[in-house]
């Protein structure tokens, strides 16, 4: 079955839609979305998309092609044959019930397989241990908790390349939908419920992440940058966060629950010139924070035992965000070692 799907891919790549898209956007190599997949899930979804399109066209194309032909051939002033009582043909009936039926059977078989294969709850096949990431949706920002590392981040979701990621997700407020188009599926996040999602990135780079479910006036600003880095850089990110992260204490947590986007929250932390996609890292964080939010349990603030250094540097200076805004020279100099490792530089 995989072979069938693959055989449609070249057609898909040459698809007119994409061609026009590329023409108009002027930069086909950086198209957002799953047509430019960066992970196995999105790749498979792209294949399945085009497979469905081409199989369904078997039923659709005859209509689009033949309707104008019939319209012209049997026009009022034409002299084609006219059979006002003709209203039944067994063979045509068999064909028009049968062909769509066969098409639906083919689609259904593939659908069954692919739905199980790409089920967001199914752990990905890999010889590497998946990285656990817990996602909390706030109005209108995302908090990413790395429970094994004991850190959290906002604005930027840092992921290691070629390693499966096992997400657990919940919402601290209303229904939202967590989505990184380039990597794969979206999944709803709901208060008092935990959903799961498994993704993997095949390439390093920066990919947009967003909320797809309207949740108020800041909805369109609820986005983040997915920063996919190699293992060494990921370790470095963890080390940075542990060393220089903001302490996620009760006061900051209450600020998280206010209606604001990531930029507003950066302002509350005292970060100036915060740009979309910059990293805010948190450490220490209360233990079992995700479970407490998901199940409305009291948060264990006493677990914030170690106090962070007071002369901490701002994280977004340490990890220059993107090609767009290079970090100020002094910051780069101060943190030269880290800047090389942070992955932000090479992700263009």
């Amino acid at each position: 079955m995989k072979g069938i799907i693959d055989s449609f891919v070249p057609l898909g790549r040459g698809g007119t839609i994409l061609f026009v898209m590329a023409l108009l956007s002027g930069c086909s190599h950086s198209l957002p979305g799953f047509m430019n997949p960066q992970g196995p899930i999105a790749e498979a979804q792209k294949h399945h998309f085009w497979f469905v399109v081409f199989v369904t066209l078997i039923v659709v194309l005859p209509v689009i092609i033949q309707t104008p032909i019939i319209l012209w051939r049997y026009r009022y002033r034409g002299n084609a044959v006219y059979r006002p009582h003709w209203a039944m043909s067994r063979w045509l009936d068999i064909a028009m019930w049968g062909v769509p039926f066969v098409v639906v059977i083919v689609l259904a078989v593939v659908l069954w397989r692919e739905t199980h294969q790409l089920d967001p709850y199914r752990p990905l096949d890999s010889d590497k241990q998946p990285l656990q990431v817990q996602v909390v949706g706030f109005d209108w920002k995302w908090l990413f908790i790395y429970p094994e590392q004991g850190i959290a981040s906002m604005g930027q979701l840092v992921l290691p390349v070629d390693r499966p990621i096992a997400f657990q997700l919940t919402s601290a407020t209303v229904l939202q939908s967590f989505f990184i188009p380039a990597l794969g599926s979206q999944i709803d996040v709901m208060n008092r419920m935990v959903t799961k999602l498994h993704l993997q990135a095949d390439n390093t780079g920066r990919f947009q992440g967003k909320n797809m479910q309207y949740n108020g006036s800041g909805f369109h600003r609820q986005r983040f940058m997915t920063q996919v880095v190699d293992d060494a850089q990921f370790d470095d990110f963890v080390a940075h966060a542990r060393r220089d992260g903001y302490r996620l204490d009760r006061q900051r947590f209450n600020q998280l629950n206010e209606k604001s986007d990531a930029t507003d929250f950066a302002g509350m932390l005292g970060i100036e010139n915060y740009q979309h996609g910059d990293l805010m890292a948190f450490s220490p964080i209360p233990s079992r924070l995700f479970d407490a939010i998901a199940h409305h349990a009291p948060i264990d603030w006493t677990s914030l035992t170690t106090s962070p250094p007071q002369n901490r540097k701002i994280m977004d200076e340490r990890m220059p965000p993107s090609n767009a805004t290079p970090a100020p020279p002094d910051a780069e100099e101060n943190t030269h070692d880290e800047a090389d490792d942070n992955g932000g530089e090479k992700a263009t």
Binding site: H48, Y76, P100, L111, W112, V174, S177, P181, M212
Partner: protein
């Protein structure tokens, strides 16, 4: 003083005025939004004032009251439903244009405030579904179905008035919300917990709840009325399998209304309990679960989709066979396909939330069930093509809509199959791809169907044809405007742009949003051309008069009576011997007969119930929204008294004497005899007075 104020006005305050923010904090941005909102409010107020002044100036209050508002005639109620739909359509299209304009300049900015944009997409969706599509198709079925089955009226004429009253009340509430803002920003689907009191404390969601509740109550009653009428009031000889296909789809629609509407009434009622009485049905805490709302909503929502599409399927069936001068291809299988679709529509609701975290097996089952609906739908499309095949096709305005429909609809079908595939839906769900898909179904499907029906049956209702050139221009503008406005949204969805986005930050989206904005302009022109068409047609009504009643060489019974038909539709209930009953009569030369004797005809008497329900419904919803409890209690009391009083009314019918019936009929027959029959080449000319040359062996001349 403030106690009295609070008692009288509830929580209504000055800040409900739509331009209040601009007065309070006059930044450029607020002023722009204040002007848009204030302008809309002004249009509502001026529109109502203008209508009142016009009726007073013409001295037509009595006529309006006795001939229209209190009339139990299904034809007049149908027309009033369509008038509501047209007014609401104009508003919702303007809102759509604003949203397209916002997104066309929406890269990193735009001119609308987030709250304003939220109200735009919520009211646009709510109006288009509940106060445009539903009244429109209810109006058309109301008008046409009793004529097609040879009945004099619906089974429950007063209930029909009440349905109209409830819809009018809901529409009024949505219009009032323009003047006394805000409306909900929770989208037409109103998902909690966003729409719960803790996240949306203002009056907006309450407006939405009561408007939708009124509408669903109206549609449930309508469904019962239609189904009973079709079961019980068919003319002698009109077996189920002799009914025109439009009546079949009306029956399926009615059944879907009966079973599909109550879940939403329940869902909004439970949400109201949450908001008013601190229940916890759909809240996050104390055992509430928003998933229950979402299941209830789509248990309504998916049958609703087929309520909206089956009626147009019936309309297109009539249009294709009439303008191809040919029997409908595969009648029996079309009926079976219709019933299949109606049945399957109850089995697929879960495909609206594949991403909510249920197991792959459940998603796959619902995905496959959804694709199954594609089979009977595809069969219908082929049946329509084969109806044109070996026919003689006249490309009149209804046919342009119909042909545009089948070619565009299959594209929507294709994208529907994509969305029905859970693994792919995880990518395109909640994106503009979804928006493009359902507009692709509902514009070429429902709206084109309604416009085709308007062009098709307008001469029946008003006695003159709609002007053809402006009709064609409007139709072509609709087709082109639709493609331009919505095909780009497919691309945007594939590129990952979420629906309901005020602003976006990816420059790659910009060309597509601009293209869609251009499409919106073309659609505005289409709407303008429709108005011009109406104006020109009314101006030339004497030249395009078709009092004889059969301008398109029609096939079913509604064409067998005068245009407009008498109140009682047929002097003698016709007897039916085959499908395409009127075409058969014409073929056998039995059309336009004078019956041997004329009976006295008993018709339902006028009743003010519809008007009373409209007024009390509006008052109650308004009072509930603003916490004016005295108004709620007063309106409830009046409703109760009116219903009880109605039970004591003894004289519920009036008799039309046989002499009057005879006189009317003979005058019509005289007119038929004086009219020169025309062949189809003169169909769109002034020579067409509604009498076709009789068919020869079924061949339309």
């Amino acid at each position: 003083m403030s106690d009295i104020w609070n008692f009288v006005f509830g929580r209504l305050g000055w800040d409900a005025l739509p331009f209040w923010e601009a007065v309070r904090d006059p930044t450029t941005f607020n002023i722009i939004n204040g002007i848009i909102a204030g302008g809309a409010a002004g249009m509502v107020v001026l529109g109502v004032l203008g209508a009142v002044i016009l009726v007073t100036w013409l001295g037509k209050w009595k006529y309006l009251w006795s001939e229209w508002l209190t009339s139990p005639d299904h034809k007049k109620i149908g027309i009033m439903f369509i008038v509501i739909a047209m007014v609401m359509l104009s508003r919702a299209i303007i809102e759509a244009a604003f949203m397209r304009a916002q997104q066309a300049v929406g890269l990193d900015g735009g001119f609308l405030s987030p709250e304003h944009f939220g109200e735009f997409f919520t009211t646009h969706g709510t109006i288009m579904i509940f106060f445009m599509a539903m009244p429109f198709l209810t109006g058309i079925i109301n008008y046409v179905m009793p004529l097609q089955i040879g009945a004099r009226d619906l089974s429950f004429p007063v209930m029909n008035q009440i349905s109209l009253g409830l819809t009018a009340a809901g529409a009024a509430i949505v219009m009032i919300s323009l003047v006394l803002a805000p409306f909900s920003t929770g989208g037409w689907s109103g998902y909690p917990p966003y729409t719960e009191l803790s996240y949306s404390p203002d009056a907006g969601v309450d407006y939405w709840i009561w408007a939708v509740t009124l509408s669903t109550l109206s549609s449930t009653l309508t469904g019962i009325n239609f189904a009973v009428t079709i079961y019980k009031k068919r003319a002698p000889g009109m077996k189920l399998f002799r009914m025109p296909l439009f009546t079949w789809t009306a029956l399926s629609t009615a059944i879907l209304m009966i079973f599909g509407m109550p879940p939403l009434t329940v869902a909004t009622a439970l949400l109201a309990l949450d908001r008013y009485l601190d229940f916890h049905m759909f809240t996050s805490d104390l055992g509430g679960n928003m998933m229950n709302y979402i299941n209830l909503f789509w248990a309504f929502g998916h049958p609703e989709v087929y309520i909206l599409i089956l009626t147009p399927f019936g309309i297109y069936s009539e249009v294709f066979s009439t303008f191809s001068g040919k029997r409908l291809y595969g009648y029996t299988l079309l009926v079976i396909a219709t019933i299949c679709i109606a049945f399957l529509s109850f089995t697929v609701w879960l495909h609206h939330f594949f991403t909510m975290g249920q197991s792959a097996a459940i998603n796959a089952v619902f995905g496959i069930a959804t694709m199954l609906i594609g089979i009977p739908t595809g069969v219908k499309v082929y049946d329509w093509m084969l109806t044109m095949y070996r026919g003689r096709v006249r490309l009149s305005a209804p046919m342009i809509y119909a042909v545009g429909f089948i070619m565009l609809f299959v594209i929507g079908g294709l994208t529907g199959i994509i969305l029905a595939t859970p693994s792919v839906d995880y990518q395109v769900h909640n994106s503009l791809f979804l928006i493009a898909h359902f507009h692709n179904m509902l514009i070429p499907g429902t709206l084109f169907g309604m416009l085709a029906a308007t062009n098709f049956w307008f001469p029946k209702a008003f006695g003159f044809r709609l002007e053809k050139r402006w009709g064609r221009r409007a139709a072509y503008c609709w087709v082109i405007g639709f493609m331009l406005a919505f095909f780009p949204l497919y691309a945007l969805g594939v590129l990952g742009m979420p629906r309901r986005s005020l602003t976006f930050f990816e420059p790659a989206y910009l060309p597509w949003t601009i293209a869609a904005g251009c499409g919106a302009i073309v659609i505005l022109f289409a709407m303008l051309f429709l108005l011009i068409q109406l104006w020109v047609s009314v101006r030339d009504r004497h030249h395009n008069n078709v009092f004889v009643g059969d301008p398109w060489d029609g096939r079913s019974l509604e064409w067998a009576t005068s245009s407009p038909p008498p109140e009682y539709n047929f002097p003698v209930i016709p007897e039916v011997f085959s499908r395409d009953a009127f075409m058969a009569e014409k073929e056998q030369g039995k059309a336009y007969q004078i019956p041997d004797e004329f009976p006295d005809i008993e018709m339902p008497a006028n009743s003010a119930m519809g008007v009373i329900i409209a007024v009390t419904g509006t008052a109650m919803a308004f009072g509930l929204t603003w916490y004016m409890w005295w108004l709620v209690i007063l309106a409830a009391m009046v409703t109760l008294v009116a219903i009880i009083a109605r039970g004591y009314v003894r004289k519920t019918t009036r008799t039309i004497p046989c002499d009057e019936v005879r006189r009317t009929h003979l005058a019509w027959i005289e007119c038929v005899r004086r009219t020169t029959p025309v062949d189809r080449s003169k169909e769109q000319t002034r020579e067409n007075r509604g009498l076709p040359v009789p068919p020869v062996e079924g061949a339309v001349q």
